[in-house]
């Protein structure tokens, strides 16, 4: 199993622990990854909102690089995964757009062929690597830990190009959490609710309300932590949690873990190499419980 790894901008900065944990987990499982040579930003929701063609041309360069390496892309960031998969789908479905993109790519000596797939590590680990094989490598089962699997939006919607799970009641994270021995919180109506994403900068009140609802729901369901696969969700749920507490007079203490951090703990990797000290709302209790 060998992939071109696409970290994206966040995983090299505000989501550095997601990068650390995902690499460590891939290594422990024997999934071979090599960082894409000179990758560029996927364009995210910004290029999407500013320039239609640029929002295809930017990811098209990355897709063309992967085409050259003849390997599927592995993109842990939900936004990178979404926008790379979107470009891949649109370029395959729309011949005129492909022609335009290739005219642009020709100016830098590249060509989009559409030979590779964009994959999410959650999909690869649960479906390709197979959970039965994951279970064989678990040395510290997370027994007694109540996990709220939170999928957010961009990794599973729309189903036209985010194809690996059900967009309304996804199961991949649930299955992974159960496989590592945790108790999975059944909160179907919440696990795909939007956290507000970039509204954090645009209209803070909107983001605060959306994120508050998710955090409160997780607590009401008795979760010990929320597990996610998106740097934007993580930023809102973790970094903004104390602000939400202050604003709504709450006393939430809900650690937010990336899925690879949760899996890493069960695989016996050290909290340090999983970047668990980078989380604002301390997961100390969870880490201590695993250690015993």
């Amino acid at each position: 199993m060998s992939f071109v790894y696409f970290p994206g901008c966040s995983l090299h900065a505000t989501a550095i622990e997601y990068d650390m944990a995902t690499k460590a987990v891939c290594k422990a499982l024997g999934i071979e990854i090599t960082e894409m040579e000179d990758w560029n930003c996927c364009g995210a929701t910004a290029a999407y909102a500013v320039d239609r063609l640029l929002s295809i041309a930017l990811p098209a360069r990355d897709l063309a690089i992967a085409d050259k390496e003849k390997k599927d892309i592995l993109a842990p960031c939900a936004a990178c995964y979404h926008f790379l998969a979107r470009a891949n789908e649109m370029l395959r479905e729309k011949p005129k757009l492909k022609e335009k993109a290739n005219k642009i790519l020709a100016s830098i000596g590249l060509e989009y062929k559409g030979m590779i797939e964009v994959r999410h590590p959650l999909d690869v680990i649960v479906n390709d690597y197979d959970l039965e094989n994951v279970k064989k490598k678990i040395v510290k089962p997370l027994t007694g830990l109540k996990v709220a699997p939170y999928y957010g939006c961009l990794m599973i919607k729309p189903p036209t190009f985010c194809k690996f799970d059900n967009p309304e009641n996804p199961q991949t994270l649930d299955k992974l959490a159960a496989a590592v021995g945790a108790e999975v919180v059944q909160w179907q109506q919440w696990k795909t609710r939007c956290c507000g994403g970039a509204l954090q900068m645009i209209k803070e009140e909107a983001m605060m309300e959306l994120t508050r609802r998710i955090l409160v729901a997780a607590e009401e369901y008795g979760a010990h932590c929320i597990v996610t696969a998106c740097p934007f969700c993580h930023m809102n749920l973790d970094m903004m949690q104390s602000t939400i507490n202050a604003m709504f007079d709450l006393k939430l203490h809900m650690p937010i873990l990336y899925f690879s951090q949760l899996l890493g703990l069960a695989l016996g990797l050290s909290p340090k190499e999983l970047g668990l000290d980078k989380i604002k709302v301390s997961p100390r209790k969870i880490v201590e419980a695993v250690a015993h």
Binding site: C9, S10, H12, A13, T14, A15, I16, D38, W39, N40, C41, G43, A44, T45, A46, A47, Y48, A49, V50, D51, R52, L53, L54, S55, A57, L58, R61, M90, K94, K100, K103, I104, S107, I108, C153, L154, K157, P158, P159, P167, E168, R193, C194, G196, G197, A198, L199, M201, I202, K203, E204, E205, A206, L210, M239, M240, T243, D277, K278, K280
Partner: protein, 202 residues
């Protein structure tokens, strides 16, 4: 605020509907106003027009009302509407198209932060090929007002303490190649605009 009774024919601009349809690449006329999009939208409670209303206004070509709406900036591109739309209309692409047109025209809005944020991020991408979050954050706050800076500062400090903010930007190795790519995008867009104009002038 538009209600059913106040819509006037003068507000309709068919060329705008055509633009939205083509740029978004989805059939906006397929919408039969069922309201599934508004029902599932997590942010509709804060919008001046619901997504369903925006769709109807887009069909009618009510350019000024659509581009000045808060709706387009509050859309978080969560894709719930598109996932549930019985007519399979890609509403997030419609919203993004409307955002891009508003940005291009510098259309005044009650929520200017959206335009400022997305423009700042794209400028940053064009400069480095990757987003330097620290610079985007500072640049956005300086343009959006001192309030934003004050509000965001505690989080910025926490991120910095946790070693999650980079002071210097990470760039692609081939900055020149990136410039050429962006230049080519511009060229193709200009060619298209010329062709569209010629067709219109017949």
């Amino acid at each position: 605020m538009i209600t059913g009774r106040t819509i006037k024919r003068e507000q309709f601009d068919p060329s705008f509907s055509k633009f939205v349809e083509e740029a978004a690449g989805t059939d906006i006329y397929a919408c039969y106003q069922c309201g599934m999009c508004s029902g599932g939208c997590p942010v509709s409670f804060m919008m001046d027009y619901t997504p369903r209303q925006i769709m109807r206004m887009a069909q009618l070509g009510m350019k000024d009302d659509v581009l000045s709406s808060t709706t387009i900036w509050l859309c978080a591109s969560c894709n719930t509407c598109f996932t549930r739309c019985p007519r399979e209309i890609d509403l997030p692409e419609v919203m993004a198209t409307l955002k891009s047109r508003a940005i291009k025209e510098g259309f005044p809005s009650k929520i200017m932060e959206g335009q400022i944020l997305y423009k700042t991020m794209v400028e940053n991408m064009k400069k480095y090929g990757r987003v330097h979050e620290t610079e985007v954050f500072v640049s956005f706050a300086s343009k959006a007002g001192i309030n934003k800076l004050v509000k965001q500062l505690p989080m910025g400090l926490t991120l910095f303490r946790k070693g999650k903010l980079k002071l210097s930007p990470e760039k692609v190795k081939s900055v020149e190649q990136l410039k050429t790519l962006i230049q080519s995008v511009k060229q193709v867009e200009e060619e298209e605009e010329r062709e569209n104009k010629e067709v219109q002038e017949g």
